[in-house]
């Protein structure tokens, strides 16, 4: 193990301040001479397998920038100028070595028959899929003519950009530079954000990024998978879970369905979907009642001792009792994708008051052993500790109460609570509980439980799974190109809110008419919920441009299509979930007439008269992303990366939140969220007192009290399959040969009640839409629930489309899609 060095928590540096630095860097680089992008091929055999002796084969390091976020680096083998295969790159930590079945099929994706070869203009009706080949010059002129006309008539916001997760590398942020140069509207297709945002409120108060080194799971006594089938969605990291199990760790899987992960578990907790928060609060009660709470961690590492005023739910600060001037410490925050703005951290001038065991109050510095429980009056102000408020809040969730709601054996709840408390326990959440309209709340309860049990900020007790996000972002400022003189942050809204804009012609009181849409790195027509509503929006557009490398549902709806290359056809880098930043080398030149996203953004920028802004080369852009104080400290720069291919930015034994310290306003783990702020403010009013502490709320749609439940008694949930990641990898013949088309998994009892046999074609429907797929009668699925893969392009469905079924409902805190909160009925087709 390498020598331990002090590591600043990266996102602290990744906030507003480093953006400003990036802005300066951009200005300096803006006029720089273009550098020719290099791609020095390595000789065969420098990593991974030994190639055939006489092979004229070149090997490049390519990064799979896919939607799973795994960011696997792999050898890209090139013979006679063609990508012929991909193979693993052996890493120092053999458990970290990664490439999956999709990654191994990349050669087919590069040469997919569905590749878009040249710019195309729609020849028939929208969606008819007939095309006319045009030149790049014609394409750019057509787009810019529409954009200029729209912006002149309806304002800058009338052109909207939509970026999905089709390329997890940094280059999307250069396209965002064009957006900000134009003052265009930013439509975001928000998924997976409920948990990440809730956790950000509690442990980073800003960025979504946390998590320790993968290998700390080897110190875990238990691993708890919370609604996470890590064998499918996170399977390049499953090796660590297995290694921990081999060392004796107990695996507990909390999941409504008998997933492959559940099949490997020591204990499977088959809870009722949508009740996760109640289960965690009940487990927390068991942990507290049985004396298993980690009082030391609560006292030193969390906000437990802080006194909260009964009058307004805010912390009692020195200014409340005449000992200091009021300040705006701990003010709320808003997050906007990459542009995370951090709250001001308490600077110590107006400390929060805690109470000593002797009844003397003071700051945390003064009272070394504060009490964590109790109600007091301090200088006439009625207060309670945050921990007492937590206990009061969760008190209703007794084991019996939760057992009834979650449809679990009370003894099982007690058992897993005891196992959980007997840490170190690794928290390994997935997105199963996130994809609900009420998706943030289970994460609040989960993190509160982790803090109470002391399963946080320690070796073996951290956050893994889908929340262990982007460690390798340290020192990387992908937003560097978005800050420049004259940048205009236009409107930002979520895809779910587009319908409202269409209806009212306004956004937050400002007139907004969207006439043109530019979609890149995304397939919103197949991936967003309520596809029919989204298609209505497309219908209203004057002009719809889509950039993609392969055909998709979205491409087929376009008026104009611009071809982009496969990831291995451009040079870029990847800030990944690994503790490294790595180069993604250009293995072959862009195929056909495709152009890189950066080149396309520049062409459009020039066409829009923004040549003085949209003039960076890929090299310029990548250089400024890696030109900041922290990068310099780490020896990270674009030149260094080109030389070294991979630069480690976090030590092997990095533990997030170690030594009782977190980058929150209080510096502590905040199960009590003092200033709840929405991810994107649009005038909504949040119930701050309610959201300060964990709570359970019934699913918005998929719950028996909903009158719709009588008509649509089944809840449609989704999983990620092994061939695709959302619609990505749709066109890989190999994967299609061995993985099935989209199906509907249905419990035998539900199938029998509807006369459905295995393999029957079934119609899955609700008031929003329908799909026809084959049924797979599968007892792994909880009765009352059905499951399908999310999602595929239309041709994979016998009829209809999955994406027509889920709704665009969201909660006011996060605006993240609640795919699983979806009632349907199923009948034989």
């Amino acid at each position: 193990m390498q020598e331990r060095k002090a590591v600043k928590f990266a996102p602290q540096e990744f906030g507003r301040r480093s953006f400003l630095k990036g802005a300066a860097a951009t200005a300096a680089l803006a006029g720089a001479t273009a550098l020719v992008p290099g791609c020095a091929p390595r000789e065969s055999g420098t990593s991974g397998e030994a190639p055939p002796a006489a092979a004229a084969e070149q090997i490049f390091q390519g990064i799979c920038a896919g939607d799973c976020g795994g960011g696997c680096g792999m050898n890209v083998h090139v013979r006679d100028g063609k990508v012929v295969k991909t193979s693993k790159i052996d890493l120092d930590d053999p458990l970290m070595t990664r490439v999956c079945q999709r990654g191994l099929a990349h050669a087919q994706r590069v040469y997919a028959p569905e590749r878009i070869k040249y710019p195309m203009r729609r020849a028939g009706e929208r969606g008819e899929d007939t095309w006319e080949q045009i030149t790049w010059d014609e394409a750019i002129e057509e787009v810019c003519t529409h954009w200029k006309a729209a912006q002149e008539a309806y304002g800058p916001g009338s052109v909207a950009f939509f970026c999905g997760t089709g390329n997890q590398g940094p280059d999307q942020y250069y396209v965002a530079r064009l957006r900000t140069a134009m003052g265009a509207t930013n439509i975001m297709g928000s998924s997976d954000m409920n948990g990440l945002y809730m956790a950000a409120l509690m442990v980073t108060r800003g960025p979504y990024l946390h998590g320790s080194s993968f290998n700390t799971i080897l110190d875990s006594k238990n691993i708890f998978l919370f609604s996470c089938n890590s064998t499918t969605s996170n399977h390049v990291k499953w090796s660590y879970v297995l290694a921990a199990k081999d060392k004796g760790a107990k695996l507990v899987v909390i999941d409504p369905n008998y997933t492959v992960a559940a099949s490997k578990a020591d204990i499977w907790v088959p809870l009722r979907p949508g009740t996760d928060a109640a289960l965690y609060m009940a487990m927390t009660n068991v942990i507290i009642d049985e004396g298993l709470a980690d009082i030391d961690y609560l006292t030193r590492g969390t906000v437990a001792p802080y006194l909260v005023k009964e009058s307004d739910g805010k912390y009692l600060r020195y200014s409340d009792i005449g000992l200091a001037e009021a300040s705006d410490a701990g003010a709320g925050l808003t997050l906007d994708g990459a542009a995370s703005q951090q709250a001001e951290v308490d600077d110590g001038s107006n400390p929060i008051v805690v109470m000593g065991a002797d009844g003397v109050h003071g700051s945390r510095d003064e009272i070394t052993e504060p009490v964590i429980e109790g109600s007091f009056e301090v200088e006439g102000v009625a207060v309670k500790t945050a921990y007492t408020l937590l206990r009061e809040r969760i008190a209703e969730w007794t084991v019996d109460h939760a057992a009834e709601l979650c449809e679990l054996d009370p003894e099982l709840i007690r058992e897993v609570a005891r196992v959980y408390a007997d840490g170190p326990t690794m928290n390994y959440p997935g997105f199963g509980m996130d994809h609900w309209v009420q998706g943030p709340w289970p994460y609040h309860a989960l993190f509160a439980m982790a803090f109470v049990a002391g399963n946080f900020g320690k070796p073996g007790a951290s956050v893994d799974g889908s929340m262990q996000a982007n460690m390798g972002i340290t020192g990387v400022n992908v937003g560097a190109a978005m800050m420049f003189e004259g940048a205009q942050q236009g409107f930002t809204l979520y895809s779910q809110q587009v319908g409202n804009v269409l209806e009212t012609g306004q956004w937050m009181g400002f007139p907004l008419t969207i006439k043109c849409l530019f979609s890149y790195m995304s397939n919103p027509c197949a991936s967003l919920p309520d596809r029919n509503a989204w298609m209505k929006f497309i219908d209203t557009l004057d002009h719809f441009v889509v950039v993609d490398s392969v055909m998709s549902d979205t491409v087929r709806m376009a008026d104009l299509v611009l071809p982009s290359p496969h990831w291995f056809e451009v040079e870029t880098f990847y800030p990944s979930v690994l503790p490294t930043v790595r180069i993604s080398e250009q293995a072959i030149a862009p195929l056909y007439e495709s152009k890189s996203d950066i080149d396309i953004a520049n062409l459009l920028g020039v066409g829009m008269g923004l040549a003085d802004i949209m003039n960076m080369t890929a090299d310029d852009f990548h250089s400024i992303c890696l030109d900041n104080e922290m990068a310099a400290e780490l020896g990270l720069s674009w030149d260094a990366l080109k030389e070294e291919k991979s630069i480690q930015v976090l030590p092997d034994d990095f533990i997030f939140g170690e030594n009782y310290t977190l980058p929150t306003p209080t510096g502590k783990a905040e199960f009590y969220v003092e200033n709840v702020a929405p991810m994107i403010p649009y005038g909504q009013v949040l119930d701050e007192r309610l959201l300060a502490l964990p709570h359970w709320e019934a699913p918005s749609e998929a719950w028996p009290t909903n009158p719709l439940y009588e008509k649509y008694p089944l809840t449609l949930m989704t999983y990620r399959d092994k061939a695709r990641v959302n619609t990505m990898f749709c066109y890989s013949p190999w994967l299609e040969e061995i993985f099935p088309e989209p199906m509907l998994d249905i419990n035998p009892a539900d199938a029998e009640a509807r006369g459905i046999a295995n393999g029957d074609e079934v119609r899955v429907l609700n008031d929003r839409g329908f799909m026809v797929v084959k049924a797979r009668v599968n007892p792994a699925v909880r009765p009352g629930f059905v499951e399908t893969v999310r999602a595929s392009n239309k041709e994979r469905y016998i009829e209809g489309h999955y994406a027509t079924l889920p709704s665009t409902a969201y909660n006011d805190l996060v605006n993240s899609n609640g795919f699983n909160d979806c009632l349907v009925e199923v009948a034989k087709a």
Partner: protein, 206 residues
Amino acid sequence: MKLAMAIDVSKCIGCKACAVACKSNNNLPNGMWWNRVDMNNGQDSEAATGTYPHDLSLGFVPTACQHCDKPPCVEVCPVGATWKEADGTVVIDAELCNGCELCLAACPYNARSFNYEEPEYQTDFPLGDEDAPQHVVFTAEKCDLCAHRRARDAEPACMELCLARCRVWGDLEDPQSKISEFIAGKQTFSLLEDEGTYPSTLYIRQ
């Protein structure tokens, strides 16, 4: 020497990375898979058997040529086109194969494929290893434990990266080999033991 494969099926997650690596590196024609991942419960695709939430069963069995010690495919071949090598692998010589398909019928593991037509590929240039085997019309073919890769001291393609780290290969007769260490102290079983084929592919169910 006895080259063999050992697979801990208690760990397998059915990702099929082994199968895709085999397909890619051997440049297998469209529709052909030497290496496949079956369900242990007889289901066609990834579904459990049993009753929710108890008694559920779900598991995977990666399967390819078992490189049997008593290979029925070899016994039935009328032209001597398939035999067991000294290293323990069962191989086929496409030049000798007369396309009678008797070996396909004889193999209880359904491990052999046949080129009924001129092999077709997704790309008009070969993918995979430059020295990948040729695929010849009217001949049988199957896993040869990647003879072409072993010839240059590389591992079989299915060993590219087992995500569950549950697949190990090597010389069973060498007590120091990875496979010998992997199975040491563990109970192993073979597929269709009743067939009397004595496979070299060993499975572990912990």
